[in-house]
Symmetry: C2
Subunit: 327 residues, 2 copies
DNA sequence: CCAGTTTTAGAAAACGTTTGCGGAAAATTT
DNA sequence: AAATTTTCCGCAAACGTTTTCTAAAACTGG
């Protein structure tokens, strides 16, 4: 049916070895021969069969991205951005990308067992058993948006981002700043929460026990929590949202209480997602270059696959405060 | 290094043919033999090599999803939802999924040429040359969110969705309804725009030339266009947004003009994306089950791959109006 | 217990490449 | 022109499965 290397070999009058070399290391074959081979290949519509190639070379040039996040998975803009970065970089590095979600992680592991993938990027809340599952099959692992010792990780500069937010608010004269954080992935919650306390302490700003609240990851939950926060006595003049969804909830709550924004209350988000400019007022937020995170993750992984020894255990990508009208 | 079928064969004392059968068609081997094989495999940590398997069977069980959308690609919630549906269904059907973006479409074609993928799902604005590129390599094609004759397509019921919107607004007493549509993918624009005109005509509601406007796909552009729409004489009492982003722009514009929503102006969105509940007022929008679109696309593709003859040329998934406070 | 039928298992030939090794040919030097 | 080096190419053995064909083994019912 399809032309094979033998057909090309026969038509061009050279051996299969030469045909093979003509396609994979053209430098090692004479120009004239090359021409004959390509001509024959063209005539036969020959394309090297990647499966057979992988078989012979014992390499597949495939990596996987496993999104470890309950529910929304790829729908989450942040993870989608990472995915986008991974996709593009993988393609440009001549790797193909397999994508899967947490629920099907075992399938991805078995893809490793069956020697189909050479490495995997785990996004978000990866469980240790997953990591060891891959490693035991010699599948290289890189984590993104998570930080576990012993595995190369790519993360955003959460401390820096939160610091920028606090600085910005303090510059605007705010002294009583509260934080509302949605329960997204544990790593992120931990980091941003910790960074907030640290940043406030460092600047000598007091944080009362009622000033930091948790809520679920949806808007309604955030709106409710924000209402309580705003109706307590001694209300804060600024609220830092742990992410943009939560911040949107804060805005809604404030609006319903008849507050003016940003005059009565400053609000900040985190992630600088697509909603920020859609909100009224537009939301000040911390921009994370998630595409770059994906790119770096691929870079680390390919370095690992190429056997490079100097892989930084932790790669931190900078964040940037994008100031809008909500502050 | 890794155990092969030969190792298992030797240790268990049966032929490689039997080992192969034990893993791929266990029904055809005696229980006792099966046990011995599995035991040996277990001891050797044997896992069948998928590449070799693909080589022998001339099948890879891999499909690809190519997102044909400029710029944001997977970041677009809609396409991400489709991707999610595809991913899950593909995994459950024992297919692995390769994902790529428009800019790298040639790579995906060459994945087809090199016999790595058996089928492809093209999301969004697929170009004819892509389709023929795949078909000439015997790679089966299914389109999603697009409609081109001769290829199985999966689309949302745009006409129905727009109809529901118009009905809903008409029920609320609106007679002067305008539409603002962002330039997203040509197919969607064409469908929604056409459906709007048809729906209005069918209900005997007039649509003046100034009542339908185009704008770019970003909020700012929508805000600006909406401002003009609202400041013309004879302003509409309701605006149908071609998607949620545009609707968010309409809300912003209305707010800035001091209008009350929904009293002075009703606004609807389209796609029912995550922003809807974040806006103030929460946005009425047409819900599209994009995950289901992805699932159906995979279903059509696998049917095609299984050689089924009865593939519906067009699969339409129903839409549902989700009414919120903006109307 | 036997002939007939159905299951079960093995031998060996694919599947389409890559690559180490060695020899021939070309290019370079003396 | 011979000697030497370098480049180019062919042979053939992997790579790890599946599967067809065939033979042996295990079941049937009489």
């Amino acid at each position: 049916m399809n032309a094979t290397i033998y057909d090309v070999s026969r038509l061009s009058g050279v051996s299969t070895a030469t045909v093979s070399r003509a396609f994979s290391e053209p430098g090692r074959v004479r120009a004239e021969t090359l021409r004959r081979v390509y001509e024959a290949a063209e005539a036969l519509h020959y394309h090297p069969n990647a499966i057979a190639r992988a078989m012979a070379r014992q390499r597949t040039d495939k990596i996987a991205y496993l999104i470890c996040k309950k529910g929304a998975t790829i729908l989450d803009e942040f993870y989608a951005g990472i995915c986008d970065g991974i996709m593009r970089t993988a393609n440009r590095s001549d790797y193909q990308l397999l994508v899967s979600t947490e629920e099907d992680w075992r399938l991805t592991v078995s893809a490793g067992q069956s020697k189909q993938i050479e490495g995997v990027i785990l996004g978000g809340n990866a469980q240790p058993e997953m990591i060891s599952g891959f490693q035991s099959q010699n599948v290289q692992v890189v984590l993104v948006n998570n930080n576990i010792a012993g595995v190369p990780c790519v993360v955003a500069d959460e401390a820096g981002g939160v610091g920028q937010v606090v600085d910005h608010l303090a510059d605007r004269g705010h002294r009583h700043i509260a934080m509302l954080v949605g329960r997204v992935n544990p790593y992120v919650v931990r980091e941003r929460y910790g960074a907030f306390l640290a940043a406030m302490a460092q600047r000598g700003l007091p944080v009362g026990p009622a000033d930091v609240r948790m809520c679920d990851a949806d808007v309604d939950s955030a709106t409710e929590a924000a209402s309580e926060l705003l109706q307590g006595r001694d209300r804060p003049t600024a609220i830092v949202g742990g992410n943009d969804v939560v911040a949107a909830g804060v805005i809604k709550a404030a609006r319903r209480l008849g507050m003016r924004l940003p005059e009565d209350l400053a609000v900040t988000g985190y992630d600088d997602s697509a909603v920020c400019p859609m909100l009224e007022p537009e939301l000040t937020s911390v921009h994370i270059d998630c595409r770059q995170m994906g790119e770096l993750a691929v870079a680390r992984l390919t370095a690992l696959l190429d056997g490079e020894s100097e892989i930084p255990p932790l790669t931190v990508v900078p964040t940037l405060l994008r100031v809008r009208r909500s502050t």
